[in-house]
């Protein structure tokens, strides 16, 4: 079943055409990768998906409903969670609190009821804490659960961000360059983690990534973007041998091509 379908998305910043009619589909249960050189418009695409940007034109349907009709904060309750390219945790809050924020939309947060500590508030808070504790264990964060997130090493922060994203029990998880800034070994572990997240939690994953090895080993499907357009799409092997993709990655002036 098609979970996410993006059709003909356009987005322009001043003179820069960041997205020019991009469209693709993600099937339920897939790990789909969005790749392309820097500045290709991948992050912009993600920002359109999470409604941080309004596309100038185009449609995004998620699980049969119109995503563009939703407010940015309502994307999560539709079933889409995301991580950011430059890890964007709430740095003064503890790891536990960060993960809990991920489940904000599922916790009772009526201010008046909260001030009165209404039983429904306590109940939903307790349930959320239980779920957060499970996720914290799953991502091996128990030792740092009460530390402020801003003070943690980078790879740990990435795991916290993953846990926060999963806290809302999303159907689709968007990962923007999850391997950025990680070393070889950490990237390998990340690949395993992403795969196990899919199988254990049944989450469909759409990721932007530069690390080709990671992309090629974990993805079911790869979309390639360049200068705001989709230039290729298919299973990893097809894409690897696509002439246009090779040109986009290696530059298209014959003189510049490595011998």
């Amino acid at each position: 079943m098609t979970l996410l379908s993006v059709t003909d998305i356009w987005k322009q910043f001043g003179g820069i055409r960041a997205l020019q009619g991009v469209g693709f589909e993600v099937e339920e249960g897939q790990i789909c990768a969005l790749i392309g050189p820097n500045g290709a418009g991948k992050t912009t695409m993600f920002n359109c998906l999470s409604r941080i940007y309004d596309p100038d034109r185009g449609a995004i349907r998620f699980a049969g409903s119109d995503l563009l009709a939703r407010a940015p904060h309502a994307v999560v309750s539709a079933g889409i969670a995301r991580t950011f390219q430059n890890v964007s945790l709430f740095s003064t809050m503890t790891v536990m609190e960060n993960v809990l924020v991920g489940g904000h939309s599922t916790i009772q947060h009526n201010a008046v009821l909260t001030m009165l500590r209404w039983p429904s508030v306590t109940r939903s808070e307790r349930a959320a804490r239980e779920r957060a504790a499970t996720l914290i264990d799953y991502f091996d964060l128990r030792d740092v659960a009460d530390r402020p997130a801003g003070a943690l090493p980078f790879p740990t922060r990435k795991r916290v961000e993953l846990a926060r994203g999963l806290m809302s029990s999303p159907r689709l998880l968007l990962l923007d360059e999850p391997a950025g800034g990680l070393n070889h070994e950490e990237v390998r572990e990340l690949g395993e983690l992403i795969r196990s997240v899919r199988t254990d939690l049944g989450v469909t994953i759409l990721l932007v990534e530069h690390h080709m090895q990671l992309v090629m080993t974990i993805s079911d499907k790869v979309c390639v973007m360049d200068f705001g357009r989709k230039i290729a799409e298919g299973c990893p092997d097809e894409v690897k041998s696509n002439a246009e993709v090779i040109r986009a990655y290696l530059g298209d002036t014959p003189g510049e091509q490595p011998a």
Partner: protein
């Protein structure tokens, strides 16, 4: 119609004071990305110093000395205080500004007392008549000074190498440093100049309203408004912003009465009391509609 023109003209005049204050605020914002909430009070303080000086010497000398002292205060503050919060987030800057505000206000009050002082009127003589519109001589000269100052600053930033270095520092600190600009001194210079400009504003305002420790409260606020309206990134913008605020204020003072009677909701005893309120309300509305000012550019946050 005549009242209208007269009010606009006199609004332009008062507005030019706001413009001068805005100029100072913009300079500081440009160099240190900070709103100097203490600007007005430092100006008041230096105006008091000028007042003391002028007891013993002619106006011109006192004026110049006070400007020099103000420059020194600004430079020392940058070195001693601002540098400590420079790489801290904006809220620290706001708080330091408030600290300066309350500190200088209290210093002026404790040395000179709350009672009003008479500050010398530099431009004496009868009102000037321009094409049937009469303007107070002081206001006219005030306007001239404001125009001159903003032209000077414009030229300074545009055409001198020091001005270029200042702009480079403001735009990209690290880059400027790599190019060999002594950014530390540039920031001191920026603060010094801004404080000096503030002092000029203070000394020009003082004869119009009386010199008291709180004299700059509203002036500063409208200066802020002018700076924000002007978009915070150009000297002429600041002055134009000031003029807009001044004119609005004046027109409100005159026409609020007409408006109220036109709406048949009674009459107003003293329209002038609405000037500041409505002007401030307009500022809040403009801020809300155009958060970066009338001339500022919109900002898209990059993620």
């Amino acid at each position: 119609m005549d009242t209208f023109i007269e009010q606009v003209v006199s609004g332009v005049m008062t507005g030019s004071v706001y413009g001068i204050v805005a100029l100072a605020l913009v300079m500081i914002f440009q160099s240190t990305r900070m709103f100097n909430f203490g600007q007005g009070e430092i100006a008041t303080f230096t105006t008091f110093i000028a007042w003391s000086l002028m007891l013993h010497m002619p106006y011109a000398l006192g004026f110049v000395l006070a400007v020099v002292i103000a420059f020194g205060i600004g430079a020392v503050l940058e070195r001693g205080v601002i540098r400590l919060v420079e790489d801290k987030p904006a809220m620290s800057g706001v708080m330091v500004g408030l600290g300066l505000f309350i500190a200088f206000n209290s210093i002026s009050a404790s040395i000179y007392g709350p009672e009003p002082h008479h500050f010398e009127q530099p431009f004496t003589g009868g009102p000037i008549d321009i094409g049937g519109v009469t303007i107070g001589r002081h206001s006219a000269y005030l306007f001239g000074v404001a125009m001159l100052l903003s032209a000077l600053f414009y030229a300074f930033f545009r055409y001198t190498s020091v001005g270029l270095a200042l702009r480079a520092t403001a735009a990209d600190r690290t880059g400027a440093e790599l190019m060999g600009v002594p950014t530390g001194y540039m920031l001191m210079l920026g603060w010094g100049l801004a404080t000096a400009v503030g002092a000029v504003a203070g000394m020009l305002v003082a004869p119009m309203i009386v010199l008291t420790p709180n004299m700059m409260f509203f002036v500063l606020l409208f200066g802020f408004a002018a700076a924000v309206l002007g978009g915070l990134d150009s000297a002429p913008g600041a002055v134009v912003g000031g003029v807009i605020v001044g004119v609005t204020q004046n027109l409100v003072g005159v026409y609020v009465d007409d408006l109220v009677s036109a709406l048949h909701v009674g009459s107003i005893r003293d329209p002038n009391q609405y000037r500041d309120i409505v002007a401030m309300g307009l500022i809040i509305v403009v801020l809300a509609l155009r958060p970066r000012g009338l001339f500022g550019r919109a900002i898209v946050e990059r993620v």
